[in-house]
Symmetry: D2
Subunit: 364 residues, 4 copies
């Protein structure tokens, strides 16, 4: 198994949902970045369940400990290890899935591949594993902030409810005001109601999360195989439950002619910009200085309490399955911070790789 | 710059559209695979321009030469190098773009990044660079065929024309019968007309290409960062002009509830399968034995002869630009083989990485 | 900074000598290997200081905790994290070195590179960092044992005292009987006396450690850049204080003619072997089935209490330096387990890479 | 098989001695480096056989062609491909080795690993494969020269003849004056005689090659697993026939006390240097600004015409073997440029990785 991502700014993630601990090592963060446990905890709190009506009532304290990499309040250039010791894990909820794979859940692939399946709460396929992403993302965000780069994610669709587009400042303000983390407060209200209705039914619902990164310089990414869009697509598709990734206009490009959506150049305040941003800030695999805009499609949580058809892996007989437990009816709100983190990890890596941030020492 | 992709089955691509040659090295193909120049040429011919009404009339002979890696008709375990010497390149067509970036074309990012821009035909940002992908893909396909895995791509949408779904055998049969490589012959006719109309206008049009891989065993990919869907998303998004990637139901998952789209298990011919394939053959980052289905959104070719706004990079003054030359009005038909190749490269790599194909020697 | 090594069996090491903890993640160990905390602790105890006359009297409990990767007594295919929380660190001993680099110690390079030097006990340049190697090596050894591969290291020289060659069984027996871990008990006694004499003088002494791996199959390693000898040389030279690596006859090949040292083939018990093993088990970069024999040259500990010349990094004035503290007068005995571990890590990685061990699941 | 080395400055080598061509791709060379075919040819000519009394009389034209990566006399940031089409290969010389492995030659490992052995001239185990190293090294040297770094190698020992130490200027002058490329002209004469005597006898002889790199800045390399000494040891040990690598004092450290060989600091011309260079320019895995000095032990060419014992791989019967053909009696003189090239590749890579050379564009 490989649990690392990134070339120069590299995350290695570890742990299972019901093991001793989960966490991540960040290797390649330059020395002399001011960094505290609070910088990481603040981001982790965004993905913590049990904090609002629309998430699972499961409480997870999720207090991060830093084991290495910080000396006198700054990174020292050595690997930064963040760990959260697991608590409040109900192993008893899961034993019934040992031989009966849950529809659209990763456990079937896991059983086929590893044999020795940790059926307690999804093992490394659990959403809890994104704690490692968020630890890495929190450090990446702090590093990117030294270059004035800012990243934020918001929910743009839940089921058939689609948010109205807003300007970036409104979005940033609004996402903190509603449990769905939607930038349009009116849609947010309807989304919340839909999620609660599905929760009531023991069902779940999907949605779309958009991520925006501003102040990214032109020239990140490379033209053929280490393109910025390719690396973003990979890390975003790697988030559990994501089934689609698009940049800029995304799938809607199929419906257009070149003359309609080409981004023409102009100059504003002595800087070359494009009049439109249908490219989503990336052309030819490289950033062009415009905001980088991606969207991901998130499937409904596969764990639903409605009765479903499965089989017994040993006898191959049909079996009915009802997945009780405290599952999120919609993970989109909690995915926002994971999308932000994943985007930050890729951008931090490419900022170092492309020479915008010194690989070793922020001060040099 | 990095021009390699894959871990065990690894492609390194080289060359520019107007340089001496383009090509690729495939490192990591096991020894003892029967392989000929024709196996590669056959695939390259699928992307060759000048072969139908809907592509550029530019002729490219594109005859591949194998410089290494084959001994007595079989791979010998050493790197396989395929090269095509460039001919028929009209450098004169491009000099006007030296200081005036083309809207939505990669040259602006390139100029910002490398300084020393090869303005002759797009340098390494040219579509011609996908010759390397196809060389790699042809070898990957031959290797996968030893495991009974088959991959094919078809056009499902051009502009507002959407193909009707067909069964896989019909699609495979139909794509060879029309220049658009669409699986639905009725839609294909309309697509062709739309493309020709746009060509006439000096405009271009986008579309969607779907790729299907059948007989892939369960257990390819890893649960967190080297997921099969993430690796597919990366290589597909890395294809120039692609702005979106989706697996299975893709973005449509956002519109659904879990109870509607979860793939329930059943047994058929003693094999565990799912009744539906909304997951597109991948759950929890790993293949589940069902067909792997991806779709990519391809933007209209940015090179159009209609008048567009740009700027002069040196003076920052506004400039008008009209891109003459023999450009494809729609690259979707030619992208199909690139999508097949990219998918094959990822699957070949993961088949070796997951232990389904021996890393060194096919016979062992 | 990069703190990982290995491709399929991959160690990522973290922590500093005076930080919160040190440890390592092993990613890529196949599922279903029986593994316990004791398997790792047993190896760590071999490098623990304070256990004999010839090591530093500094006590380090060094009790490993496993945070992830084991489920019901077996590896589950997920990353295995081992951590040791630091205790008994005397930070006060080191503050004087903040601006005065110690001769032949890594701190000068560190200061030049990272700026923000952790002067407390050598930071990540400390010998304590090899705990990560040993955690990785312990797991590698357990994995190799399933293939009947065994690895052991012994001291062959300290200062001018050279051990007499012994057969492998004698060496393995003798190294447990003397604190120097030398295979020749007579030489061991003299070595111990030399080390104690140097300790008394506040000086230190160098030596040579040989590592032997038996039952390695032919065919590990690749012919050009991922040769087995190259990978061994890298990991062994990466051990702090090592200034030379040789395989088989090593530097002595320079003194010979081909007709004297070529390893001729013969057949023994129906197996093709070589009559001599001057190649040390590796020819053309690949293992040939004979024992793999390497030797490393270890310099005297640079930390000596004798007065030495240094400079003040800020004023560039000459300064005298005397390095008090509880340093090892000779680290060779403690390096043996690090050499074993490093060799095991490379062999485990290549056993998986070459298809001798399944990459995912030991049972398959 | 993997045929790449380097992280940011990355060589991928291809071809076999009797195939169509041999060559290498250099990926990651920044744009805007002045580079010509002659820069590469000049280095290749140093390893060309048939140029002196002490090498094989086999003639190889070895004229390099550059297929990509140079635009208007400068690198353009894209992969640089250098290729040499093979000529004058006597396949008939080799067929007898198809089933009879040559003592201490790589073919046995190859046969065991790949099955499909290219017995014509050693396949990819041939010395001819180092053409790829030299192509990469020539480009690396040109890049390093922009930073004032210079690298040279010389023969210090052949059999029992050891050169007297000389200052660096004398060495550089003398190596061009004798076919052995030894820095001591008196020893060079004796070495030449020994080599010719062994050639006469159908035997071969080993030796030692030293490489020196001057003006390397302090701070290259990383403290634990990507140490500069580890990376040098790997690439040098990867050269065929090398059985040992040492840095600075090397194996002789075993014979010394810390007080004898610690490199004390002083200041000269306002720069911090060490009074001695027993560390060979590397401490704690990082360069310290002093000359980087390595030595490699090269075994006698295994191909000798004296009668040797081997076996038939199929029948396992004993067989006698005499290796006729035009083999080098001593490859040390021709290895010098390979050692220079290998060292240059590692240093160029680390100069980029450590932020001393911009990863993309020399001008920025």
């Amino acid at each position: 198994m490989s649990n690392s991502i990134g070339e120069k700014f590299r995350i290695t993630s570890f742990g299972t949902s019901h093991g001793v601990a989960v966490g991540a090592i960040v290797d390649g963060c330059p020395a002399n970045l001011e960094l505290s446990q609070e910088d990481i905890q603040k981001e982790l709190d965004k993905r913590k369940p049990g904090t609002s009506s629309v998430t699972t009532p499961r409480k997870e304290a999720d207090e991060v400990q830093i084991l290495s990499g910080i000396f006198e309040g700054k990174t020292d250039g050595t690997p930064i290890t963040g760990v959260i010791f697991n608590k409040n894990q109900h192993s008893k909820d899961y034993s019934m899935f040992k031989d009966t794979p849950r529809p659209s859940h990763g456990d079937f692939g896991w059983m086929m591949k590893y044999g020795n399946y940790d059926y307690n709460g999804g093992g490394r396929g659990s959403g809890r594993i994104t704690i490692g992403h968020v630890i890495g993302g929190a450090i990446a965000k702090k590093l990117l902030k030294t270059q004035n780069i800012e990243i934020f994610s918001h929910v743009t669709q839940i089921g058939d409810i689609v948010a109205e587009p807003q300007d970036y400042d409104t979005i940033k303000e609004n996402i903190e005001k509603n449990p769905v983390r939607c930038g349009d407060l009116k849609a947010a209200k309807e989304m919340e109601e839909l999620i609660l209705a599905k929760k009531e039914e023991g069902d779940s619902v999907g949605g779309i999360v958009e991520t925006i990164a501003v102040n990214v310089p032109a020239g990140l990414g490379e033209p053929v195989f280490e393109r910025l869009d390719g690396d973003l697509a990979r890390i975003l598709m790697n988030i559990g439950a994501v089934k689609g990734v698009e940049i800029g206009l995304g799938f809607d490009v199929a419906n257009h002619f070149g003359s309609q959506i080409n981004d023409e150049y102009t100059v504003e305040n002595d800087k070359i910009i494009t009049k439109t941003n249908n490219s989503g800030g990336i052309i030819g695999g490289m950033s062009n200085g415009m905001p980088i805009v991606s969207r991901i499609a998130i499937k409904p949580t596969p764990s639903i309490s409605k009765c479903q058809d499965s089989i017994d892996l040993n006898t191959k007989e049909n079996k009915k399955i009802e997945i009780k437990g405290r599952h999120d009816p919609c993970i989109c709100p909690r995915v926002t911070v994971v999308a932000e983190s994943s985007t930050a990890i890729v951008l931090a890596d490419h900022m170092i790789r492309s020479g915008f941030i010194h690989p070793t020492n922020l001060k040099i």
